[in-house]
Symmetry: C2
Subunit: 355 residues, 2 copies
């Protein structure tokens, strides 16, 4: 009686409906509004759905519901030389969180550095996506303003400095991160605690420095001369690290604005025959793969929580639910590794929430 779909083509609502001896609207109700369907009918419908391996066609329901069910994410740093360290783990988190928010992630990008907005426009014009998640915004970044002007829903990983009124963002509390790092180093018994950071004027960088300054002051160790500065480039960082290691000395420790800077400190220690952790403590920032590979303690970004928050924010925009009145700062987590343990028997890698 029930006509089975051919082996090649997929089951549709109609197939399920006739197999379950109900109309196709009932099948749709069973899926979208189960409370409207009598329990016994519901069971029968679900049994057939299962048996036929039915799943609504994404294209058809997108068309009907006027939403793609997708969020776009630009893959930046396309020379493949300068991929942001955070990009891959953040994208993974976003991807894993997406089903929870009834969507999936579509990636896009282009070769040229120039017309970045063009790709956003293309994605949007065909409504391949309902919204965007952006990251790595900077002063003069055209994207936030343009997206906002077009009325395109989006949320940003990182504050949007140019548009203080824009509140759909989540960011990492850098101050809390370096503060935690200092607390940890103090409790491990290190003496002078220096800081290797980026040049003044970067908002993220200044915040991270501030956490170090505040925490060291709190322990009566505030010493702003125990500071060195470098851009995010290894050779320059090695120079700066060398000078800082001189000043901090054996028994001291260094908090860094990034894992790359931490790597520079690590490098300097090795060339001088000093043992990271045992002789000089190091804490990096970002929780990157290279910190892992080199056994560097690092302040890890809470990518999962950020992804979850941002998808919630775009979802709220799409449903015109009440919006947040301000962005969200999330507290990073210190990942302990051997570079910040004075005793040789470093504990196994584990995570520890900041209290």
């Amino acid at each position: 009686m029930a006509s089975r779909p051919s082996a090649r083509s997929r089951a549709t609502v109609n197939d399920v409906a006739s197999a379950a001896r109900v109309s196709r609207q009932t099948v749709s109700n069973a899926l979208m509004h189960p409370e409207r369907v009598r329990p016994e009918t519901l069971r029968r419908v679900h049994a057939e759905i299962e048996r036929l391996g039915y799943s609504p066609s994404t294209a058809a329901s997108s068309l009907r519901q006027q939403r793609a069910g997708a969020v776009g994410m630009e893959l930046t740093g396309l020379g493949s030389q300068s991929l942001s360290d955070a990009l891959a783990p953040f994208l993974v988190s976003l991807t894993i969180c997406a089903p929870t928010h009834e969507c999936h992630i579509v990636t896009f990008g282009s070769d040229q550095d120039g017309p970045t907005l063009e790709r956003y426009r293309e994605m949007w014009r065909g409504r391949l996506v309902d919204a965007f998640v952006i990251m790595d915004t900077h002063h003069g970044d055209p994207r936030p303003t343009w997206l906002a002007d077009q009325g395109i829903p989006f949320a940003s990983f990182g504050r949007v400095w140019d548009e203080p009124a824009f509140t759909a963002w989540a960011d990492v509390d850098g101050r809390a991160g370096t503060d935690t790092a200092v607390e940890h180093l103090v409790s491990e018994g290190y003496g002078p605690i220096g800081y290797l950071g980026w040049p003044y004027g970067s908002l993220v960088g200044d915040e991270r420095r501030e956490g170090w300054a505040i925490a060291t002051a709190r322990h009566g160790r505030g010493d702003l001369t125990l500071q060195a500065i470098s851009n995010q480039v290894l050779p320059e960082a090695i120079d700066a690290a060398g000078q800082l290691v001189d000043r901090v000395g054996t028994g001291g420790a260094i908090v860094c604005a990034s894992d790359l800077l931490a790597l520079a400190v690590h490098h300097v220690l090795l060339t001088r025959g000093l043992r990271p952790g045992r002789d000089v403590g190091i804490v990096g920032f970002d929780g990157s793969q290279s910190a892992l590979a080199h056994g560097l303690t690092s302040v890890a970004q809470p990518f999962r929580a950020i992804a979850d928050e941002l998808l919630t924010q775009v979802h709220d925009q799409l449903t015109s639910a009440p919006q947040r009145t301000s962005g969200v700062m999330l507290t990073p987590t210190l990942v302990h590794r051997s570079s910040s343990h004075r005793r040789p028997t470093a504990p196994a890698t584990h995570h520890q929430e900041k209290s």
Copy 2:
């Protein structure tokens, strides 16, 4: 006369059609089969398309054409601890190539390591994607067999060892890569050229070792004792590298099966006060970010060419075009950096094709 769409809602074929005073089929033809439309009409239609910012609805054309226009890509290594180094650059390449192949990339993944096939099934059931690209296949990997059994189109970055009959793959010619590395080191004037590789039995690893063995033999320097072995873990690699550096000595060089192993050699040199490049040459494999950060010469995988090839392969499967009768091996490229230059003035980073 022409009714303009409301500011809020998008332009549709109908809007363009009435604005251009043609039927909506003509608009569709202008886009899909321009040769069927009189030039003047074509121009008028395109002008309106431009003016209205029209772009066909992805959902509608997916439904009509019975294809999602999307390729799924699993994001593996989800502890965010073990993301394959190759994942991010490969995904970027795939994403950038996708528009050329009239598709876009949808990512997916799950937390648990267990039911990986379940996520593939979900993506496929709703036809969120038309095909998959997979990578990092291994012996006993359930994915290739399952996908093939289901008749789901897919292509693999890396040979599919378990299914020799399966030819939709592209891989990197590891033998050619290490061969090129040896040639380069010889021409730079290094003496003994050793190899730090993975344990025997890994097909990828054995191939890379073979390239080194063949090329050194060709130069009358075959010496299989100049070899050390380590798994892909830094501490173990450092031990192995230490022994190998002893045997190779100053003026020698070491080719490595991966950038992580190369990093271990680098580390050993620094702790001994030796200068990478100047005193001992190093060449890594993979062209990863960390090779870049540490100035390591590396055999870089041709991600772009691989992505392009794989998308061509799935496209051919979807259109039942003639399929390849065998997989494709692509030649990697040596990226020169200071770790393989004996003279202190290393040239700026540049790429160089293997001849």
